[in-house]
């Protein structure tokens, strides 16, 4: 456990000493800020129009702003997750520092979990920017924080799964661009697999749809903590890290 923390600290150091983390955070902040500004603008216009139509029931901030915005975060995440994970192992393999790590008295799993945890922390930092924006809603409005917390948990779980997949892909190559591109492709596919359920209900379609990381987010998005979906994400994390471990082991046997 101590070793996991040592590796995680080192990875976070690499992210935050180099401009990588700041650029990712700044870009994410910018993009999300724009989304937030847009959503707020539409919310206000809609509110005024409702008043003019004479409807008086209050508009729900959670439903009008937070939910669609956090749904968008999962989409923006698709672009950022490959950028976070692509360097994790590919860079170490290219520079040869992987030899230092795997010849140290540290278990492979500790290295993997440490790196994955660091990636998750960086992602959580990105989510912090969304929370900053939402803080204004809490100041001027009265949103419900419980569904919001559940949605954040869902975001972390979903990202955890995709980051684990990205970590695995990063172990398979020395080239960061290759790792990033493949991760993006795989994440995008896992995201859109759910679409097939729209026109087909055969077994393969249901399986494919079940595998989609997006379909399992619906419950979290609504603020419902569904153990079925949580278990799905935890399984993705576990499988991703398991394959990473096997891949790292095969590195020893092959290279």
């Amino acid at each position: 456990m101590k070793n996991v923390w040592i590796i995680c600290r080192k990875e976070l150091g690499s992210y935050f000493v180099s401009p990588v983390a700041y650029i990712l955070l700044a870009m994410f902040g910018l993009i999300f800020g724009f989304f937030f500004w847009n959503a707020l603008g539409e919310f206000i216009i809609e509110g005024i129009q409702m008043q003019m139509r004479g409807q008086t029931f209050p508009m729900n901030v959670n439903e009008w702003i937070i939910r669609p915005l956090l749904h968008n975060v999962t989409v923006i995440g698709l672009f950022f997750i490959p950028l976070i994970t692509m360097r994790l192992f590919a860079e170490e393999k290219r520079t040869g520092t992987i030899e230092l790590l795997v010849t140290s008295p540290v278990r492979d799993l500790e290295i993997i979990v440490g790196k994955w945890l660091a990636a998750l922390v960086l992602y959580a930092c990105m989510l912090f920017f969304t929370a900053l924006n939402f803080a204004f809603l809490f100041k001027y409005g009265n949103p419900d924080w419980k569904p919001l917390a559940v949605t954040y948990l869902g975001l972390l779980l979903q990202a955890g799964g995709l980051l684990a997949i990205g970590t695995f892909i990063s172990t398979t190559t020395k080239n960061q661009i290759v790792a990033g591109a493949v991760t993006f492709g795989v994440c995008l596919l896992l995201f859109v697999f759910g679409w097939v359920s729209g026109y087909d209900s055969a077994l393969w379609a249901r399986v494919l749809s079940y595998m989609s990381v997006a379909t399992h987010f619906d419950s979290f998005e609504k603020g419902v903590l569904d153990s079925k979906d949580a278990v799905f994400y935890l399984t993705v994390i576990f499988v991703g890290l398991f394959f990473t471990a096997r891949s790292l082991e095969s590195l020893r046997w092959r290279s």
Binding site: I6, S14, V17, G96, I98, V102, T103, R252, W253, S255
Partner: protein
């Protein structure tokens, strides 16, 4: 030493040692000059260590590594005693790096066993890794880290904590002369500094065994000398294996040489013996040619053998009227003049007469075959 082996053998039979019962890593045994009672497994047994004057730090038995099509390392066996510096010599691609990687648990062997400080590299990999400091061919540094930060990270990875960690980092910074770049980014350091940081990294946890893969590659002559001195000063505390394809380096730093070629171990000897072999018994190459085309090799050989002081004559090669012999003489006898006279007086031509004693370089070339020749320009350049 013999009695020590007895101990090792009986311990082995009981399988891996339970942690904490015996410090197998050496020092404890070394000071033990009277009969000692050691707990071993479930049974207690008395082990006599009175003549255990050295301890085998590394034992390699028939170690092999096969890749898909090629055999990188082919059944090599050797032993390294505690505190020794061993040079691993061979042309590029001979299997030096692969062997070292197996010793550091980076690669698992395909066959055979290797133990470091008594632990098997495959079965007790974590224990081995605790006791090994490894400098790969390219120093494994993170360019975005500062020197001291990096050494602290490696120290923590190797299990150092708190004040101990700080003390060791300070110590290796001084020892490897990198104290003046403590707070510099590793990415901005020169090759020489990187190499020394790599060395500092390898010794930060005070390992029993140091494995250095071409520690002087790419350094300038002054840095090469400094690095060699540093390595020499580390011997004694540490057992060191270093690989190189530069011969003088081995002569200057190592006590023992392992010459490896195409995955096979072609020679293991102490540097002194190899040099003695190089100076060797007086041996002369004689090329003789017949006057009119024909030459009776047997007759020439007989004639040469009759020269006083000659102990042995070997026919090396012969073709159309020329023959080359290697003539060994008794120690202290100077036979070249007599040989020349004998040849000429018999009516043959003496084409060539030169000493056949081998330099270490020639031994190396002979042992490693023709590929090594391509290495020579580089080696010469670096020794300048």
């Amino acid at each position: 030493m013999g009695e020590y082996h007895l101990c090792e053998a009986s311990v082995r039979k009981r399988g891996p040692l339970p942690a904490g019962t015996i410090d197998i890593s050496g020092a404890h045994f070394l000071e033990c000059s009277r009969p000692a009672r050691l707990p071993c497994g479930s049974a207690r047994q008395t082990v006599y260590l009175s003549v255990a004057n050295y301890f085998l730090m590394i034992t390699v038995k028939e170690l092999s590594k096969k890749y898909a099509r090629t055999i990188a390392v082919d059944q090599i066996s050797f032993e390294v005693a505690k505190g020794q510096i061993v040079g691993f010599l061979g042309p590029n691609g001979a299997g030096k790096t692969t062997t070292m990687r197996m010793l550091t648990c980076f690669l698992p062997p395909s066959a055979g066993t290797a133990t470091v400080a008594g632990f098997d590299v495959l079965e007790q990999s974590l224990e081995v890794r605790k006791r090994i400091g490894y400098l790969p061919e390219t120093p494994p540094i993170y360019p975005e880290m500062e020197t001291a930060e990096y050494l602290r990270f490696v120290g923590k990875l190797k299990g150092l904590t708190g004040a101990d960690l700080q003390k060791r980092v300070d110590y290796v910074c001084d020892r490897c002369a990198v104290a003046d770049v403590r707070n510099k980014l590793l990415g901005k350091l020169s090759k020489g500094y990187r190499q020394r940081v790599g060395l500092a990294q390898a010794i930060v946890h005070n390992p029993d065994v140091l494995i250095l893969d071409e520690p002087t590659a790419g350094l300038d002559p002054k840095q090469i000398n400094e690095t060699r001195d540093l390595i020499k000063s580390l011997a004694g505390d540490h057992t060191i294996i270093l690989s190189t394809h530069i011969l003088p380096e081995v002569e200057q730093t190592c006590e023992q040489v392992l010459i490896i070629n195409k995955g096979k171990l072609v020679a293991t000897d102490s540097v002194r013996n190899l040099q003695a072999r190089a100076r060797g018994a007086e041996s002369v190459l004689v090329e003789v040619a017949g006057r009119n085309g024909g030459l009776e090799t047997a007759a020439v050989q007989q004639k040469l053998e009759q020269v006083s002081g000659v102990s042995r004559v070997l026919s090396k090669e012969q073709n159309d009227g020329r023959a080359v012999f290697e003539v060994e003489s008794q120690k202290g006898r100077f036979v070249r003049g007599d040989l020349a006279r004998a040849v000429v007086e018999s009516g043959w031509d003496l084409n060539e007469l030169r000493p056949a004693s081998m330099s270490l370089e020639e031994i190396f070339l002979q042992l490693t075959g023709s590929e090594a020749e391509t290495e020579q320009p580089g080696a010469k350049g670096e020794q300048a």
